[in-house]
Assembly symmetry: C3
């Protein structure tokens, strides 16, 4: 179905195109990112003006950055935004000034434990400025003369923008798949989710689907708050969903459960992970993390899980310049994509049937579904699947429930149900 | 109560009498078997004519077999039904013909992995014929000349028959105990169930009982379907039940749960097995197996478990000529019988009481139930049992629940309840 | 808050004052004990006359003892009540007689397995008498001449007395804390509960409390039956409670659950024990034990657990002269007191809140609750606690539920809730 080489190559190319862009929660970087996604899937871009109240929050001014650097007393650029957009604290105010080292240090950020990386720092809601640099560079800054600080950023009334793509299915019920588009040059935390959802959407839109699938490409936190605020009337259409992030590192798959922990999406995703040979991890819900913090807030309480590889905060490259193109592997991202497709396969096919011949077993032999010579011990897995599907198609057990109970693969259970349906032994509940 | 030697000897004799008979789902073999059971317990034999519709099935023609063999080109009988009734595929059509080895082979059944056994094969619902033989014999058949095939079988309008025996108790509620009578010469799978239920019925009918006990001796699948179909109006009388099979091998006891898995019979049987020193196995329900497939079909859904030793399919002798008199041991069958009696003891005595003095403890001392000199640490198990029974006789906990909670043997809990009942401290709920 | 040295010293002094008193279920010993408690906390002493019916029981005559001994034929006192009040079986009738060794032996109690201890024996409801002595002494009694037995005890119409102390809180709902005052000179089983509850009450009465706290100092069994009988109309005020006993030995803490096992007091106490570094033990409810037998009888069924160290019957010193001042350690009793205070801290503070901004997260930054520079991985435990409290303050989860879910210490969860309450982000449910 999927051409692994072709898709991997395209994902790799797209990742490399997106990487250099300086994204933040507003501004040209997000817009450029959404336009690039729009070349692959038809994205509806939504605008929410600066100053709009979204629940407890207010859409901030749009922030754009042209240039930023720090020069030493010799006039040498020792920190240069044009070399890495992580050097600048996101949402830094414009400034042009000269400072002593001590004054400057109040605006410098490093990670002592990882002395060679540039950390990722933001200051969205406090008007401030700062630079990020490796600790090893930081400790070598000398105290001779003044440093020149230059930040050419602009704040303006503008818009918070996000992208949205709906694949309509037979049913109005929606599966929500969401990622965030607000981080500068980092791959696993941010871009991996964008690239995966773009290619997933691009693949799914070719097929007729039972459920509708809504893809969101939004700035984290303020973006999801805005989207929820503007779509509050339609949230009841959402059956369940997943937050997509950290999908290209070399770790095993991790599933973070929904707030209740017992939703159908929890059962489906845990089944997909457990039916593979590889190790995996299941985490309980916590209100720390990504946009599930908003979707699972108590007044919204949507069943949104998160399917990832190594979770944010659990890999040292997280929120540093080391979360770069070298850190990730496209084959891991492709493997993550396959996991998402497995999950969606079950979402689409997890029917509940009723046995139309519920009193004792139907005679499968006269329907050509049973071997002529009965030997008791020669039952194929398909014949066993017939028995399981017939017995538990009582209007209470879904095909996935039956697959779990029987320990027979979901795909074979589904195949058995299709044959039984064709023979008029089942009906959709 | 039970004379082990006497009963074992009688069971052994009965097993040996039943072994040679060629049983199938209809015909003289079943009839002869039921008549032999009827010599030990008064069996009501029920007839259902060929062609009768029972749910999705139709009662097949009655099948009887006089003789069957295959001769080689030298006229030697190389396969002879009269030497083992497993040689012939059950329900083979009559035939008299000569065939080349290649043509013959399409009708021969062997088990390569068990080269010295004759497999058990049936073809109830497809008009066909076949012979079964050891693989080692099969590979030595030579290609010189034609083989003569002779099967002197008869199909006729007749009846599906089964036997039924009800021991009426004080209550109309029934415990269903069922086994199948349709296998030719095989001991553990088939005869062990017949022999056990015959002697269990023969023993139980001597005592006044609380519940009614219904014993079924039926052809597997078509027999249980027929019985359920004819008794659909009375199924609500069935409290729960057990399928009896595979009860004479040397393995540990196994209990296969009812469909819901949380019925009283599940609790009782698991308690009986776990309160013995020996290992045992608890299996979840599956819709593969014996007549629980029909009793537990979603439109019938009776709480029927299965109490056995090594389950069908789990011992290599299953459905072969090796499941013979040498394979089983009567002492194992007797041990199985004791397990059934333990289960029935709890069924009969698992009352729910109400404490008539529920506010604080009653004064056991003035009723002669407590030692004069209290030393705190000298309580007998019986006195502890008094406390447990009094505390949990709240109309919600059965004596078995109390035995499980207290880890005091059910029989002592029952004895405590009897004494407390006599002292007017309890009342039946 | 607590002065460890001061309180330990006072508890030690009190324990030593109480130790020599000969207590029984009635009589001067109980009265004297209650008067000593009354010097530390204002105790209401309740009288129930001999002959009063309390549920299934009748208040016995008051028993007092002046002197008791056994002399050998040489006139030597070989057993002397004045040396240990355990020598006399409690509630022995008055007697003055001469007996042969064989006749005497019917009234002697020893423990062969612990040959050097005096056992503790009672005969409350059978008019009888007896002496207790070490087995090693018992086997050396010689058969020369008659023994003189003298017991100067008195039975009289009098009262069963117990002490009660209520600390009224803001709410009428009561936490019941109960211990027994009927054992003669034994420390861990009996006195440790009395001393702990006296000092706990003395400490708690200084503070404004949410719940009311009722302390009972009662004779075991007949005392709790009497109290329940006289207070039946008010039992619905009791939220839950604990029986206090065996609190000064060197074992780890043990919690014996309430009858249902899933009450809030179970959750609280298990949390307190599990949040310490030390080992601890959780026991299921059983109707054997102390006054929980009455409080948890099926017609009363109050949620009363028992928080102790090594349970009765589990330490060899139990109910012997070895359960003395040398056996216990005041530092263990103090540690037990701290455990009770931890439990009460959670009882008092385990609120259920509702998030007043339940749709998405509130903006903590504008309320000064979030650091200006966001770096994702720099969240303090307090900020995490904000997220947990906000997300699960949905009217269903208590602060303890949130502490358990989040694995964040209850005290920090409580602190977070206080700050959020102050910021008008929470409201009491």
């Amino acid at each position: 179905m999927l051409n692994k080489n072709q898709i991997s190559e395209n994902m790799d190319k797209f990742m490399k195109t997106l990487f250099p862009i300086c994204r933040s929660i507003t501004g040209k970087g997000v817009k450029q990112t959404l336009e690039l996604i729009n070349e692959l899937i038809p994205l509806e871009i939504k605008y929410t003006p600066t100053g709009t109240k979204v629940f407890d929050w207010i859409i901030p001014e749009e922030w754009n950055i042209n240039d930023a650097y720090v020069k030493n007393s010799k006039g040498e650029k020792i920190i240069d935004f044009s070399k890495s957009n992580l050097h600048l604290v996101s949402y830094s105010i414009p400034i042009k000034t000269k400072l002593s080292l001590n004054e400057l240090k109040e605006h410098l950020f490093t990670i002592k434990e990882q002395p060679d990386v540039i950390p990722y720092v933001t200051s969205y809601y406090d008007k401030n400025w700062g630079f990020c640099l490796p600790y090893n560079q930081y400790i070598q800054l000398d105290d001779d003369g003044l440093y020149e600080v230059f930040i050419d950023s602009e704040f303006s009334n503008g818009n918070l923008i996000y992208g949205e793509f709906l694949i309509p299915g037979r049913l109005k019920e929606e599966v929500l798949l969401t990622c965030y588009v607000c981080h500068p040059s980092m791959c696993n935390d941010n871009l991996s989710g964008i690239v995966l959802l773009t290619f997933l959407a691009s693949h799914l839109k070719k097929f007729p689907l039972k459920y509708s699938y809504r893809f969101l490409f939004i700035p984290e936190t303020i973006g999801s708050i805005t989207w929820i605020s503007k779509n509050e009337q339609n949230l009841s259409n959402i059956k369940f969903g997943l937050v997509s992030t950290c999908l290209a590192d070399s770790g095993n798959m991790t599933y973070k459960k929904t707030r209740s922990g017992d939703n159908e999406i929890d059962k489906i995703t845990e089944y997909v992970l457990s039916s593979q040979a590889k190790d995996f991890k299941i985490m309980d819900f916590s209100p720390l993390g990504s946009d599930e913090r908003q979707f699972c807030s108590p007044g919204i309480d949507l069943p949104i899980g998160s399917l990832m590889r190594t979770p944010y905060l659990s890999f040292p490259e997280y929120h540093t310049s080391n979360d770069n193109l070298d850190f990730i592997k496209i084959e891991n991202l492709f493997d993550s994509l396959l996991n998402y497709l497995e999950v969606i396969f079950i979402i689409e096919n997890n029917e509940i049937f009723k046995n139309l011949n519920p009193k004792c077993e139907p005679n499968l032999g006269i329907r050509g579904l049973y071997p002529s010579f009965g030997a008791g011990n020669k039952k194929t897995e398909l014949i066993k699947a017939f028995s399981w599907v017939l017995n538990f198609s009582d209007g209470k057990h879904s095909l996935l429930d039956i697959a779990i109970k029987s320990k027979i693969d979901f795909k074979l259970i589904k195949k058995a149900s299709e044959i039984l349906l064709e023979k008029n032994l089942l009906i959709l509940d």
